[in-house]
Subunit: 227 residues, 2 copies
């Protein structure tokens, strides 16, 4: 029983990976160097893979810097800083990378076919982060349907499943689940900025801090500011 | 009116690009360096872009060499050689790269969002090459549906269309259409091998030669063997 697990090195993808391992899958972690502003989260992904003693970690270079509109791939767009999670709106944020999950899942689907894997695990989450269209349940369903008709595996009746176990969880629930699995949350990186310490002021830091607080756990990574 | 045109440098994608230009689109050609065995077709893509005087050509590096099962990305799998197009079967061939069109179209979708383009042109063809699941009409429909729910453009009601104008054409019809558009067919490259001359014996060469013959035109590129 084999699965591909998308692993950014963040909290969510690490808990999603821990879940796949707990379910008994032989997991191939898949990460991307996609023109992120910093490679900090990729180092976290590598540390997580080492923690689990998984010997194969596929890192794919995919330069999306020709995408001009996202704060995560373009140096011309600033990551917005806020004082608390209450300031986070419901619009699609500027940190949205066009079609990022679509692209990552497509590459994962090809790898799943190549490896005979039956599932793709993704740490997407639609509750705390409903602003990203490619983090919503109806998107994952449509993607599975597309794979059914568009891949050799699908045509031959071995459909590739998309598993998004965190999809309907709050950040606090994700933290609790990670703690239950003894996932190495202290190795993960969520901050959109790339300093030595997490900034504590971007959307991603604020949601993470709020999640740990609500879950009743201390976040062991270092922050510039704890909002 | 803007469109992204997937351009491999082959006959089909070049005619598809010519079609998009003829329809009046401002076209951004998009090519990939994806661990093909050779870069011959990418040089053809560049020559086609120069021919049309298009100043922007996006080439994305995406190393799919971790996909082990395709003859086009793995050195461990041989490209099959045949004596005539009659020997080409209807099974999915070993030159199938898992999820390739899905991946290319996903990257194109992100670029379309980023550029405000409304359509993606792809030279896929389901008649002469029905063996590839991601070249079939039902796949393109499912992909469009997935984009509707999974992209910002889709959610905001600006759906990105997939245009596959050659989908139901025979190779001979594609050659005739290319000739009508005065597309630079002599600059294109279809061979799966990467010599100075096209091999004339792989599926792709055989289908191309048969297409030119049936269309009543001379194929101006050089071949090792004209089957």
């Amino acid at each position: 029983m084999k699965a591909i697990a998308l692993l950014s090195g963040g909290l969510d993808s690490t808990v999603s990976l821990a879940y796949a391992l707990w379910k008994g899958y032989e997991v191939i972690p898949l990460s991307f160097r996609y023109g992120q502003r910093h490679s900090r989260e990729l180092h976290s992904a590598e540390a997580v893979v080492r923690h689990y003693g998984i010997d194969r970690h596929i890192i794919i270079d995919l330069d999306l810097s020709s995408y001009k509109i996202s704060a995560l791939t373009s140096k011309d767009v600033d990551v917005p800083m806020k004082r608390s999670a209450d300031e986070i709106g419901t619009d699609i944020p500027v940190t949205y990378v066009p079609a990022r999950n679509i692209i990552f899942m497509s590459v994962a689907a090809g790898l799943a076919e190549s490896e005979g894997a039956e599932a793709i695990f993704i740490g997407a989450n639609s509750i705390d982060y409903s602003g990203y269209p490619d983090c919503r349940p109806e998107f994952f369903k449509a993607f599975e349907e597309m794979l059914k008709v568009g891949t050799k595996a699908g045509v031959e009746g071995r459909a590739i499943r998309i598993e998004a176990p965190l999809l309907r969880m709050t950040k606090a629930e994700i933290v609790r689940l990670g703690k239950r699995f003894e996932a190495p949350l202290q190795l993960t990186w969520s901050c959109y900025s790339g300093g030595n310490k997490a900034c504590g002021r971007c959307d991603s830091c604020l949601l993470r801090l709020k999640g740990f607080k609500e879950a009743g756990y201390e976040d062991e990574i270092e922050y510039e500011v704890r909002g």
